[in-house]
Symmetry: C2
Amino acid sequence: MKPQGKKKATIYDLSVLSGCSASTVSAVLNGTWRKRRIKESTAELIQSLAEQHQYTANLQARGLRNSRSGLVGLLLPVHDNRYFSSMAQTFEAQVRSHGKCPVVVSASRDPQEELATVETLISYSIDELFIAGATDPDSVHGLCEAAGIRHINIDLPGTKAPSVISDNYQGARLLTQAIIKRFDDAEAPLRPQELFLFGGRNDHASRERIKGFRDIKTELLGHDSDDCIQPTGYSPGMTQKAFEAFYEREGKLPRGLFINSSINFEGLLRFMAQHPHETFADIVVGCYDYDPFGSFLPFPVIMIRQDTESMLAKAFELIEETRPAVKIHLIQPELVHPRTALKGPLDSIRDIDA
Amino acid sequence: MKPQGKKKATIYDLSVLSGCSASTVSAVLNGTWRKRRIKESTAELIQSLAEQHQYTANLQARGLRNSRSGLVGLLLPVHDNRYFSSMAQTFEAQVRSHGKCPVVVSASRDPQEELATVETLISYSIDELFIAGATDPDSVHGLCEAAGIRHINIDLPGTKAPSVISDNYQGARLLTQAIIKRFDDAEAPLRPQELFLFGGRNDHASRERIKGFRDIKTELLGHDSDDCIQPTGYSPGMTQKAFEAFYEREGKLPRGLFINSSINFEGLLRFMAQHPHETFADIVVGCYDYDPFGSFLPFPVIMIRQDTESMLAKAFELIEETRPAVKIHLIQPELVHPRTALKGPLDSIRDIDA
DNA sequence: CTTTTTTGCACAATCGATGGTGCAAATAAT
DNA sequence: ATTATTTGCACCATCGATTGTGCAAAAAAG
């Protein structure tokens, strides 16, 4: 029928048109009509009217009534890096496959903003919340708990709700080992003071990665000292400064670099922009995060791809449970060798014309 | 006060607690109380009660009543590439600064999914919609129009709503010119059959870019033939195949490559993974999209950074207008030379501990 | 000490959908 | 033909917030 002037049709409009009551219309349109013993012919009539008038339910009204909204939220620290944006992509696909509506929001790794954002989501009667990389997962838990909203931590664990995170310790060991191995047939063997870790802050992920780094480094190279760890926060700018400072001091970069995340890796890019190719002639970089372009830089870049699909799948599984245990589920990440272009969530979406 | 057992406080709860009517409570808490001549002391009482009981308005109820929700939507084709994810990031910042709540969803460049997603958003009484990179902006317009929702196209233009897009023609000229210039002091000059365009499909952006590419190429190199244009859709897999096919046929890659988007660039990465460094020894790549890691690949990569901030700013400006003209606003993109690490939206978020 | 004006707030309808309850008509059982 | 069931649906309260309207009490004007 015509695209209507302005206002959307409601069950009351259809009620008038069909001669049935609004409750009948409602039942027909939300599928509960068999349970309510509505005649099949009545249902058909109403359905065809609904179609003609392009009826779609007002989800705010429905949500108000059932205090559910059909929305499932993903709280992200930031959008614009490959780790989180590909998480968003898989999240959307999984939520849709459950027949719900995904909502992705970021809170800039700011505890205040995290809480404010979650409050807003709760006010919209969001049904479930996936909390990824929150600085303060337990406070967020507090809000969800009070509102009776199922929630789960991803990427960074909390102590009050179940968490699904990648096995940072193991991943860091893998990555560090791979970096070291790269020097196996170098003319000069890698010395402990030549292998540094840059980036991260005092969060669970960083701590675990640092532990893994130090453990395997000590195992393989015999020694590790505190000054080989340079936490810079999750900021490209600070990371760049750290590299500049190091370079100023030492006249060169460490031969082996463990970079805590792709965001920190961008700090290295900024440093690179200021220095000639030779500066990077024989370095090996390991980055705890995968970025397809990062994998093809002019020096060997070994990366860790966190398995966001498995993490989210596990998270969905747990969030469905009635009383999930408050424990941390570790998902194994994957080591990605230099010059590797992995497939991603985009590969599963069809592209029409070529 | 205590975090409450389960249910959130409503104006009715506060109404009882304060001895005032619900309408008074409502007025106090939504700021209209002066207009309603509520005594200041009453307002203070209610506000303090609200704080004690951690009252937050049920936004679904409010939205139902005003048929507005405070939500502003951004419809994206996909999340996981730097162009769209950084668009999401700036979008969120801008929406928040307007006191609204951002909602970002992707629709996989699938016209069906686009419409379904927008219908859902409309059912939540979203206030405004930014339609980015939609395959079928005009159908989306239809839905918004019928629902009386302000909307605007970004990145890909429609014919029925105002659009803000980057100047693809001009950008493509810039980029192509920069590619050609790179060969100025090469031993062998670049011949027209050595400069190819890969990627894109039959959308407005691709068409404009192809036009810009061909125009300047003809101007500078004297000739351009149809087979130098290889549209592959927006899919890494298809793009890879196109490169493989070309390589199979010609035994090498073109010396000059114009790649239509970072998504297509990922197709080149996949190709690269299959071939040794030498294959890329003297190629020059121009990519219509900026990715910081892409900028540092082992061969010269010239990129175009689309100015998402300006695009969104302009879009916000237009969407506020009562009757914005249905026209296309062009935003100039920026040429980014190889080995450049630009700042992005992440730089404006503070990082607490270093 | 009236009359007018202002102040301060309560009432009740409304937004659209849902679901428990009740009840008449149709059908089946006796 | 009478009672018991089943069928098919209407009625109405409800979710929480908003807002136009109305009306006492208090203050000001006379």
